[in-house]
């Protein structure tokens, strides 16, 4: 009997190949549909197809493009032709800056809000109104005030990642068990030491949950933001390849967005596991 992990792995591989097979069959033009239609249709679409090829690429073609992209990920031939790795690096860089700033603001602020019932009550209405705003709705305001598309994208990342972290930090800090605080009090631990040795570790799992939600949202939003502001980044890449009608490259872009998103989540999940304690 093989372990569950091995069996699940085998099933995953089988499913993957089955999916590719169905995909391939779906995009292969059937003989009965008549070759006469294809060039006509192709002409309509403005593509100069050589022979009977569907506009929708098959898995083999996508795999080829993916290989091309991975072979030379960091080339730079001007604004409209950059390597996939370079585009991803732009996106990750923006997310890192916007998200990093959000951490720096949200965690200390959440700490204060969580410690003070007054601050919590006073700021709650603002947070409740600001939180549900789609981050992209800020874009015009950001472009108008900041007047820089790159900084505006970073701002949008900041604004979308800040809320889950702020709320989770405030909640985690507010929910620290009273008996742990009493331990610190009976040991005459000062406020700073108490914050770092009792409240922070006690609230860390909740804070990390917020950070994990935020990184997921940030990665969703950066793609949309880059499609809007253009220039560089994986969102721009996907949009640009759509304008080039290179569906294969669009699919490669989509795939990479998924992979990077997964990696970001895995990193946060690992951090979360590190600070989680069993009770």
């Amino acid at each position: 009997m093989k372990s569950l992990g091995v069996r699940a792995g085998i099933l995953s591989v089988v499913l993957f190949f089955a999916f590719c097979l169905v995909w391939q069959i779906a995009v292969t033009p059937s003989a009965s549909s008549g070759p006469a239609l294809d060039p006509e249709y192709a002409k309509l679409m403005g593509i100069t197809t050589a022979g009977a090829q569907s506009a929708m690429p098959g898995p083999v073609e996508v795999a080829g493009k993916l290989w091309d992209a991975l072979k030379d990920p960091f080339y730079d031939n001007g604004p409209n032709d950059k390597g996939l790795g370079l585009q991803l690096a732009y996106s990750i860089g923006r997310v890192a800056i916007g998200y990093g700033l959000a951490v720096l603001v949200a965690v200390p602020l959440g700490f204060l809000i969580g410690m003070s019932a007054l601050a919590y009550r006073a700021l709650d209405p603002f947070i409740q109104v600001l939180k549900p705003i789609s981050p992209l709705a800020w874009m015009p305001l950001a472009l108008y005030t900041i007047k820089d598309s790159n900084l505006s994208a970073i701002f949008v990342i900041f604004i979308c990642s800040v809320w889950p972290m702020l709320l989770n930090t405030a909640f985690g800090v507010g929910a620290v068990r009273k008996e742990w605080l009493n331990v610190a009090r009976t040991l005459e631990v000062g406020p700073w030491r108490r914050a770092f040795t009792v409240i922070l570790p006690a609230a860390a799992p909740t804070i990390l949950t917020g950070m994990r939600i935020s990184i997921g949202i940030a990665w969703l939003v950066i793609v949309a933001a880059e499609m809007l502001v253009g220039g560089t980044g994986i969102g721009y890449f996907v949009w640009n390849e759509w304008n080039n009608l290179s569906i294969a490259n669009v699919i490669v872009g989509i795939l990479m967005i998924g992979v990077v998103g997964m990696v970001l989540d895995l990193i946060l999940a690992r951090l979360q596991r590190r600070v989680t304690f069993p009770e």
């Binding site: 005459e188 009792v198 304690f277 069993p278």
Partner: protein
């Protein structure tokens, strides 16, 4: 033991009141007076809800009394202090720290300038003392209930407090573990002459551990009905304590109090009852204590 200061801890007319939801105030207890000498082991027993934890929280400084004050060693309590260690009912270990981490946290809070090696050396000594050698690196979640309570004891003792405060420290444990831990606490406290105030529900625990047993009446408006001196020899042993001549009279007296007098005391006070000087009672063969107030009715009737 060193010469006793009979007023090492002096509880002076403390009360605790809470506002009622529908207006007015509930008085949990009021005008409570009690003295504890240095090196004494005092148990407070009373029914659930009579305010024992509130008294202990006031002694620890975690809560302030509504009225009155507590003087320790000549100084009024104004907040929590490293001089008074607390063993909490729910162990209250920090779950993200190991056994060593929990004890070392207390040690480094007490001696802020001590080096890491020094702190760990000291923490290790107290971990050994409560019999947890080899479990230093375990997290509280990996320990049994008894082991967790031992860590709590090690943490409290490691800061060398002047006073040890315990709130039903063994009530969540099975009888066997409870017995072992009682033995250990007794051994450590008698050897070091530790001043202890402990809350318990358990009459036998009080008889085995305490020098004085404080009886609280039922709340609200709970009072200290009397202070019972333990007539059993100081070097009593667990396996023979119940054979002492005074054991059953003492036990019966305590049980009688919990069963009926804790309820009826308020309406049936002994003549001349003065909350400032709750009657001190000595059961059985021993002579009555020197500063006995009016002879309590029931004690006289005890066999």
């Amino acid at each position: 033991m060193a010469e006793q200061n009979p007023k090492f801890i002096s509880i002076e007319g403390i009360s605790r009141r809470y506002p009622k939801r529908e207006g007015g105030v509930t008085t949990i207890f009021e005008d409570l007076w009690l003295q504890v000498a240095r090196g004494e082991f005092v148990c407070i027993i009373g029914h659930s809800g009579c305010g024992k934890t509130s008294v202990l929280n006031i002694l620890s400084g975690l809560e302030a009394p509504t009225d009155g004050a507590v003087i320790v060693d000549g100084q009024a309590i104004e907040g929590p202090s490293l001089d008074r260690a607390v063993i909490f009912q729910g162990h209250a270990l920090l779950p993200w720290k190991s056994v060593m981490g929990n004890v070392a946290y207390a040690v480094s809070s007490r001696w802020r300038r001590a080096g890491k090696a020094e702190v760990e050396e000291r923490a290790r000594r107290f971990i050994d003392l409560v019999g947890l050698k080899g479990s230093e690196m375990k997290k509280p979640a990996e320990l049994s209930g008894g082991m967790r309570q031992r860590v709590g004891i090690a943490r409290a003792l490691s800061i060398e407090p002047k006073i040890l405060l315990m709130d039903e420290p063994f009530s969540a444990l099975d009888a066997l573990t409870r017995g072992t831990l009682q033995d250990e606490v007794r051994r450590i406290c008698t050897r070091t002459g530790q001043t202890v105030v402990m809350i318990t529900h358990d009459v036998d625990e009080a008889i085995y551990l305490a020098d004085k047993i404080v009886l609280m009446t039922n709340g609200p408006e709970a009072q200290i009905a009397e202070v019972v001196e333990n007539p059993l020899p100081k070097d009593r042993a667990r396996d023979s304590v119940h054979r002492a001549a005074d054991y059953y009279p003492l036990r019966n007296h305590l049980v009688d109090f919990l069963v009926s007098r804790s309820r009826t005391f308020r309406d049936d006070k002994p003549a001349g009852y003065d909350p400032r000087h709750p009657p001190v009672v000595r059961i059985g063969t021993g002579a009555p204590a020197a500063d006995i107030a009016p002879a309590p009715a029931l004690a006289a009737g005890a066999p």
